[in-house]
């Protein structure tokens, strides 16, 4: 069992932050890697990116968006509760070197995974410009945390409720017009990553994306996470999650991500109904 040491809602009922006691994972975690967890014996194995880690305290920080049954059920966890299974670090770490000028783009919940990457890139000597964006002000988080790990932070909201109105791609375009970066790292919802890639392709800037395909084992055993990259089938869990965004078949990824939409909806509906019957307790 793995203990939840801290749980806060970054955006009420939408975004949760968890600090999990997992010293062995913390000891080995590197920017860009993820974990897979299972809440209990009936639970699904879901992947979440390592948003931060503390090797001394032996903790791993996760930020999860309530997308369906499992992440909603996780939202009920409190400090002191435990989860059954927690495995990681998984995936290849993000390749870090001194590229020169790097832009990280984090959209929505994707802000969290850009955090350790921006930090590692800056430590490697890069000029790191971080763009973070959310649909609206309430969904924006980690502004201060991000500011600490990059050279320059740019913030935007789709609806203009905070700082400025615009998509992360609008801001990215301005940054690229100012001076062409050597690398872009984009993490967020699939349509956002796709839009970033379409833009950076025009500018000829290499772009790394972190893919969130559906997974089961996370060890290369099931092939469920396969995506087409550069015309070849790759497994996100062992070959990725980072890939060259200009090579990714986003359309296929989107189709495969929707594979279980009906069942997922059914599962969430049943879960919320059950919770309501029990007065909100599970």
């Amino acid at each position: 069992m793995y203990k939840v040491l801290k749980k806060t809602e970054l955006a009420p009922s939408i975004l949760d932050l968890y600090v999990i006691e997992a010293p062995k994972v913390a000891a080995k975690a590197r920017a860009g890697q993820f974990i897979i967890l299972r809440i209990d014996g009936q639970g699904e194995r879901i992947p979440l990116t390592i948003a931060d880690f503390d090797r001394e305290k032996g903790t791993v920080t996760l930020v999860a968006q309530r997308a369906g049954k499992t992440t909603t059920q996780m939202g009920k966890l409190r400090a002191g509760d435990s989860i059954a299974d927690f495995v990681g670090p998984l995936g290849e770490p993000t390749h870090i070197e001194n590229y020169g000028r790097v832009v990280t783009v984090g959209g929505g919940v994707g802000v969290a995974p850009t955090h350790p990457i921006a930090r590692a890139l800056k430590e490697a000597g890069n000029e790191v410009i971080s763009i973070i964006g959310a649909r609206t002000r309430d969904l924006l988080f980690w502004e201060e945390e991000m500011r600490k790990v990059c050279t320059r932070l740019l913030v935007t909201t789709d609806d203009g409720s905070y700082v400025r109105k615009g998509f992360v791609t609008d801001v990215l375009k301005e940054v690229m017009d100012e001076k062409k970066p050597d690398l872009v790292v984009a993490i967020g919802p699939q349509p956002m990553m796709r839009a970033v890639c379409n833009l950076t392709r025009e500018y000829g800037v290499k772009t790394i994306v972190s893919l969130n395909s559906i997974m089961v084992d996370g060890t290369g055993m099931c092939g469920c996470c396969r995506v087409t990259v550069g015309g070849k089938t790759r497994f996100v869990c062992v070959d990725g999650p980072d890939f060259d965004g200009h090579e990714v078949d986003f359309a296929e990824l989107a189709r495969r991500s929707a594979l279980y939409r009906e069942q997922e909806k059914d599962s969430l509906d049943r879960y919320t109904q059950r919770c309501q019957c029990h007065g909100g307790e599970h």
Binding site: K24, V25, K28, R38, Q42, G43, E44, R45, K69, T70, A84, D85, F86, V87, G88, P89, L90, V216, D217, G218, T219, G220, M221, C222, G223, C224, R226, V227, T228, T233, V238, E252, R255, R256, A258, L259, Y260, Q263, E264, D266, S267, R270
Partner: protein, 469 residues
């Protein structure tokens, strides 16, 4: 009178195995073969001729002393019988169920020439189940040697190596990537063929010997083999052949195409058949095609029926005679209503505008000359295209070794296919590192994997103490 030998009356047919009715069982996940009663076992044991030259024993990869254990059953000493089996085979309740007996022990049974061979596997299962039911008496353990061994992977190979090393007095830790121990026995082979309680009972027995099992530990990520070598005196790699192969035909990433590993893992390990009580979903479709002809393919096709498919097809390039699956599984699949399209090679998976599978384009084949494996290879027939209308495709054409450990371990010699090179004692090119089971041989059998674990335990013991086990 002196020369009058006592003539034994030979019963020609194997004592039948009680089994669930095919129609009922094709829709549930309970075990198909129900196991012998004590009376069945006595009757079947009585058929054995106690051949002095023990041909059956030579057919068993771990040389279980078959005539001896059967004799003990004849004499009613069931405790003695299981003890005899366990001298060679650490997982009799598993092997009795899943060994391909018709190509191993039973193939060489003297009776088999004219009649049914003795049901060796069934007898093995009977005494093993009886012992599991009564509670296993733990074998004696040697005094502690002070040596520590890390075992990577908790499939039959890793579990066997761990339990033998523990009996020899070594401190053993098993690292398993998944959240439960058992390897393919847990995630691959379905409940209806190998109940998970049987596997977990075997895992518990290994734990009772003092072996520590750390689940959720992916070696190559949380620790590399080189890091393990800093803390352990030897490492055994039993990581199996978990990497699914695909056909490399157009449409293979369409929605509704599964590897057999994914299809079976969702069902067995994650219990998707209990969705939504269990959270992991699976899409079954109404017409399912499974590509391949081995045990894995049979398991997937039979699972599809149980999950509610109205039609489940096995699509195989060669003919019935070349099917590599256990004969009993093929028979069971047929009885349950699995359909077979032999001499058929898929060329393309068709999808609708949303990316969902709508059918599979195939070519008919003919059998040509025998290939390197001695099997006649299929040759496609020009112009024989046809479409099999299916909405789910399960690819079960084989698995390779998972590259994670090889990729992260320095100085480990590999074959062209990526298997770890190890000699008969399990020694690899890297000092202190041993390997065995599917990761060395390629996808094979439970008993071969267990046998390799045993051999490696002996040689690790020799390496650590200088003594022979």
């Amino acid at each position: 009178m002196a020369e009058e030998k006592k003539k034994k009356v030979i019963i020609h047919n194997k004592t039948p195995m009680p089994a669930q009715d095919p129609v009922a069982r094709s829709r549930n996940f309970q075990e198909v073969a129900l196991g012998y009663t004590e009376e069945d076992a006595r009757l079947e044991a009585g058929r054995c001729l106690q051949c002095k030259n023990e041909p059956c024993r030579q057919g068993c990869p771990v040389e279980v002393n078959i005539p001896a254990f059967i004799k003990l059953i004849q004499e009613g000493d069931l405790d003695g019988a299981i003890a005899r089996i366990k001298e060679n085979n650490p997982l009799p309740a598993v092997c009795g169920r899943v060994c391909p007996q018709e190509s191993q022990c039973e193939k060489y049974c003297t009776l088999g020439a004219k009649h049914d061979p003795v049901g060796i596997g069934r007898l093995e299962r009977f005494v093993a189940d009886r012992e599991l039911g009564l509670g296993v008496t733990l074998p004696g353990k040697a005094a502690s040697t002070g040596k520590k061994v890390a075992v990577v992977g908790s499939g039959p190979s890793g579990l066997t190596c761990a339990s033998d090393l523990a009996k020899l007095g070594h401190a053993v830790t098993v690292f398993e990537a998944l959240h439960v121990a058992g390897g393919v026995l847990m995630y691959g082979i379905p409940e209806f063929r190998l109940p998970k309680r049987v596997v977990q009972a075997e895992v518990e027995n290994v734990k009772k010997l003092g072996v520590e099992i750390q689940v959720n530990s992916v070696i190559g990520r949380i620790d590399t083999v080189d890091e393990l070598l800093e803390r352990y005196d030897a490492v055994y790699l039993g990581t199996g052949a978990g990497l699914p192969y695909f056909m490399d035909i157009p449409g293979e990433n369409a929605c509704g195409v599964y590897s057999a590993n994914e299809f079976l893992t969702r069902t067995n390990l994650m219990k998707a058949y209990l969705f939504p009580e269990c959270d992991t979903p699976i899409r079954v479709g109404s017409r399912v095609a499974v590509l391949g002809g081995g045990n894995v393919a049979m398991d997937a096709a039979r699972t599809a029926l149980r999950l509610g498919a109205s039609e489940s097809w096995i699509v195989y390039r060669r003919s019935e005679a070349e099917l590599p699956a256990r004969h009993e599984e093929y028979e069971h699949a047929r009885e349950e209503g699995v359909k077979f399209s032999f001499l058929t090679a898929p060329t393309r998976i068709l999808e609708d505008d949303k990316g969902w599978v709508t059918g599979m384009e195939c070519l008919r084949c003919e059998l040509g000359e025998p290939d390197a494996s001695g099997r006649r290879s299929p040759v496609t027939v020009c112009g024989s295209e046809f479409v099999l209308p299916v909405d789910v495709v399960v690819v079960a054409i084989g698995q390779g070794p998972n590259p994670l450990v090889p990729r992260t371990t320095k100085g480990l010699a590999l074959t062209k296919r990526g298997n770890i090179v190890a000699d008969e004692s399990g020694a690899t090119s890297k000092p202190g590192v041993y390997a065995g089971g599917d990761v060395v041989t390629g996808a094979a059998t439970v008993i071969l994997a267990a046998g390799a674990g045993k051999a490696a335990a002996r040689s690790i013991h020799r390496h650590l103490t200088g003594a022979t086990a």
